[in-house]
């Protein structure tokens, strides 16, 4: 697995670079569908015009699970900006998702 640079984590939303997100789903299960709708909405609010969401269906291509070491579905992976981040679940909790993606610093940090 490629080594990720260990630069200090911080809010990246203002950085202006394009975000590359990858959503791992299994067909169109309810939570996969919900996760897609939630991340799409969230990106439109915070990253409008500078994000890409790639949807990978592991029912059709299970071998792709190896690349980002996917354990559960749905999983959202932030490929760019580095470092790589993972958020598991249907992303229904916006606050947690924002923190998980480091779009907003957690209250306790």
């Amino acid at each position: 697995v490629k080594k990720k640079s260990a630069k200090p984590a911080g809010p990246d939303a203002s950085a202006g670079e394009t975000w590359e997100l990858r959503l791992y789903v299994a067909g169109q299960t309810p939570r996969s569908v919900a996760a897609f709708a939630n991340i799409k909405k969230l990106c439109e609010e915070h990253l409008r015009g500078r994000y890409k969401i790639e949807v990978i269906d592991l029912l059709q291509q299970p071998q792709l699970a190896a690349g980002d070491q996917i354990l559960a579905i749905p999983t959202l992976v932030r490929k760019l900006p580095e470092p790589l981040r993972r958020v598991i679940g249907d992303l229904r909790n916006t606050e947690r998702t924002l923190v998980g993606l480091n779009l907003r610093p957690a209250e306790d940090r």
Binding site: K3, Q28, R31, I53, L58, P62, P74
Partner: protein, 567 residues
């Protein structure tokens, strides 16, 4: 989640802080994963198995059903209460020509054709509480409309208040319906065409036997002038019959292609009726029918095509004579029909006979093409069943209408033709100037060009017998060459000819010094306005429809020398 921690580096304070931050992140991630699983925010696990990974759905039992829904040929979707798509299967994405992810969260309304949106919204409104069904057109991403039937159904409460919608593509069904209708129409047309062809063959063969006999007779009795005359008269009658049949056929094809054209002018009703009566007189007298004509005292002017109006009344008179035993009575009467407020003044012409009549059940169909009342086995009446269709079409083209009345079988019949009349009915028009040259008194040098040798030679022979000097040519090049040496007054050119067609031959002749004054006349099978325009453009002086009648040719030449161009 097992990213190796960078090592082999001097553990400075900064590096340690970075490592610490990384570890905290990974711990957070692990905690979040466990929380997500505990909270049921995931619905599948990915487990490495040997060389591959396998997806285990948490609700494993419904996976086959999910796959069915994904794979089936029926488009389905679940909608939120506001009509946004919560889920749509593969078939729906295909039907809409949009990627699956573009569907989720979008209102289904967005994919409905603008005109059908109110209908869609009514269906959806009903669908929130009970089953509702209807048809609308969806709009594909590429703009193509797709006819579909929609069935909305409320899903059980534990499905989160979603509305299920089943979307059936009706394109194949609509296409099938259209094809079935088209096929049925074709079958019916084919049946009528076959019936018609059978009758046509019969009708065309009838005059042929006497014509062939007449040829044999002429060979045997060449020295008996009286017998030659009567045989020739018989030939003329039979050929006339065939010409009428073929003319009817041409008219039938014009009706079916909507290509009948009127050449309207101001004409007198009396003149139309007189000429129609004139054309039917020989038949009338041979059947010993009594024909009376009563016309209004006023002069009635019509705005119409004289040839076509004469055809209307000749056809009706012909019918009256045909469907009546010898010695019957035909009455023609016309009267002005005023008093309908708002409607233009009209004249009503009635043609009444005492013939076989029309059974009530056949009255509505009597003007249909190929309809004939005559059911008798001997079929003494000839005709193709086109006449009345033509009458109706022509009368309606003139803005009039025609009606058939009969008390029933054996009670005779009456046809009433109502035609609008021109408002200026009382002022007589000056008669058109009469041709100053008497037809047939001038002798011409004529070239007849036609790739049908028999046609060319027969016409040349006939013209020679009538006192002209004629030469023949059988293609366009020969026509030009013959004319070059013969220097004719008149050249008759067929249009479809080998080597050089009639148009090009005409243009070539016009470039020669001797060819500027020569009278060039097209002789063709086509007599529509468009054909006449084309021959005129090519430089022809006149246009005659084959077979060329020498009398018509002489009239045309006479009118030309009188300074009028007659086409």
């Amino acid at each position: 989640m097992t990213t190796p921690i960078p090592d082999g580096r001097r553990r400075t304070g900064e590096a340690l802080r970075a490592e610490n931050a990384e570890l905290r992140l990974r711990l957070e991630e692990a905690e979040e994963t466990i929380r997500a699983i505990r909270q049921g925010a995931v619905d599948a696990f990915v487990i490495p198995e040997l060389a591959n990974y396998r997806v285990y759905m948490l609700e494993g039992a419904d996976r086959p059903y999910r796959l069915f829904v994904e794979q089936m040929e029926q488009a389905v979707a679940t909608l939120h209460d506001d009509g946004a798509i919560a889920y749509g299967n593969r078939r729906l994405a295909e039907l809409l020509g949009a990627p699956p992810e573009a569907l989720i969260g979008a209102p289904l309304l967005q994919f409905v054709e603008g005109d059908d949106r109110p209908a869609y919204e009514a269906l959806l409104a009903h669908g929130r509480t009970r089953l509702s069904r209807g048809e609308v057109r969806l709009r594909r991403a590429d703009g193509e409309p797709v006819p579909v039937s929609l069935t909305f159904d409320v899903l059980p409460r534990d499905c989160g208040g979603l509305i299920g919608v089943f979307i059936t593509d009706l394109t194949p069904q609509k296409r099938h319906e259209q094809l079935a209708a088209a096929q049925e129409a074709l079958r019916e047309a084919d049946r009528r065409k076959n019936e018609f062809l059978a009758m046509l063959a019969h009708e065309l063969r009838n005059p042929l036997a006497p014509i062939r006999n007449a040829v044999d007779i002429l060979r045997l009795i060449a020295d008996d002038p009286g017998a030659v005359r009567s045989t020739s008269a018989m030939l003329e009658r039979q050929v006339g019959l065939m010409v009428r049949l073929v003319d009817d056929l041409l008219d039938a094809s014009r009706i079916s292609q909507n290509r009948i054209e009127l050449h309207r002018e101001r004409i007198e009703l009396a003149s139309v009726i007189d000429q129609a009566v004139e054309s039917i007189k020989p038949r009338c007298s041979s059947l010993r029918h009594d024909l009376t004509v009563t016309l209004p005292e006023e002069t009635v002017y019509l705005d119409g095509d004289p040839v076509r109006l004469i055809q209307v009344f000749a056809n009706l008179l012909d019918n009256a004579c045909k469907y009546m035993a010898p010695g019957g009575r035909v009455r023609v009467s016309a009267e002005l029909a005023r008093g309908e407020p708002g409607a233009p003044d009209a004249v009503e012409v009635r043609i009444r006979d005492g013939g076989i009549g029309i059974p009530a059940d056949q009255l509505p169909r009597i003007f249909d093409m190929f309809a004939q009342v005559d059911t008798s086995l001997e079929r003494t009446r000839s005709g193709l069943g086109i006449g009345l269709t033509l009458v109706k079409t022509l009368v309606e083209l003139h803005g009039g209408r025609v009606e058939a009345r009969s008390e029933g079988h054996g009670k005779g019949s009456e046809f009433v033709v109502r035609l609008p009349i021109r408002l200026a009915t009382s002022r007589p028009m000056p008669a058109p100037p009469a041709p100053t040259t008497e037809p047939g008194t001038t002798s011409y040098l004529i070239v007849v060009a036609d790739d049908s040798r028999d046609s060319a030679e027969a016409l040349a022979l006939l013209l020679t017998l009538k006192g002209h000097e004629a030469r023949t040519a059988f293609d366009g090049e020969e026509a030009v060459a013959v004319a070059e040496t013969f220097r004719p007054d008149v050249i008759l050119l067929d249009i479809g000819m080998p080597k050089l067609n009639g148009y090009d031959a005409c243009r070539l002749i016009r470039t020669r010094p001797w060819g500027r004054q020569v009278v060039l006349i097209a002789q063709t099978g086509w007599g529509q306005e468009e054909d006449r325009r084309r021959t005129e453009e090519a430089g022809f002086d006149g246009h005659l429809v084959k077979p060329v009648d020498p009398e018509a040719l002489m009239r045309l030449l006479a009118s030309r020398s009188a300074g009028r161009r007659v086409r």
